[in-house]
Symmetry: C2
Subunit: 116 residues, 2 copies
Amino acid sequence: MVGMARAATTSDVFNAIAEPQRRQILVLLRAGERPVTELAQELGMTQPGASKHLRVLREVGLVRDRKAGRQRLYGLDARGLQPVHEWTGGFEQFWNASFDRLDAYVQDLKQTRQKE
Amino acid sequence: MVGMARAATTSDVFNAIAEPQRRQILVLLRAGERPVTELAQELGMTQPGASKHLRVLREVGLVRDRKAGRQRLYGLDARGLQPVHEWTGGFEQFWNASFDRLDAYVQDLKQTRQKE
DNA sequence: CCATCATATGCCCATATTGGCATGCGTCAA
DNA sequence: TTGACGCATGCCAATATGGGCATATGATGG
């Protein structure tokens, strides 16, 4: 193996939600279970397209599916999003500090120049 | 254009943090600014590799860089992570509800079977 | 049993990546 | 000025995707 591409999107949640349409699907599912075709329509994608995205979401555990007659209802299982929320939360203290740090840089630069 | 792959990773934060090594870089930078080589060493990657990941992070605005002599110090700018935190936070109410919903499914199935 | 509806898959194409290596470029020290 | 150091890039190889289409699968209703 000489080159590698990217970790399979099906392997982790971060990758699964990197796709805008998959995020939209998750948002839609907050309103409740929905069959594939309905999701496809509401999001303006083809049925195969929706199925493929749903498959990825299913494999990382963000959605569950349940057979209901001829349909297959997909439902949200947001537990997998918690790690992402927590990971980003670990940077919360830096959101506001960023500007201050930037200022610190500028100060540093000014002092450095004065010394030269 | 007949086929498309995936939105450029450099275009949004969700995609930028989909890469494990880039997440590690961000975590390391919480401790403060660091030159490329040092990051590469600590994460066990080559210098070009680190540079490439840093470039992606820079283009989505998650890191800033500052020249310091021969070195280039990279620093964290976590503001871009806030949207991700908020998006996932929008599912917080479903983290605990998931099990209940699952139970509801089981109940449904049982009733359905009894009817048959 | 048959036509139809609802989905999942397989295949092919064009693209986006990531990694390894070599190399260009600017900076600093002797 | 010259050589070493620190980084960014370019190029190539191997892969993972996402979309469009056709088609296999399954279940339902007559």
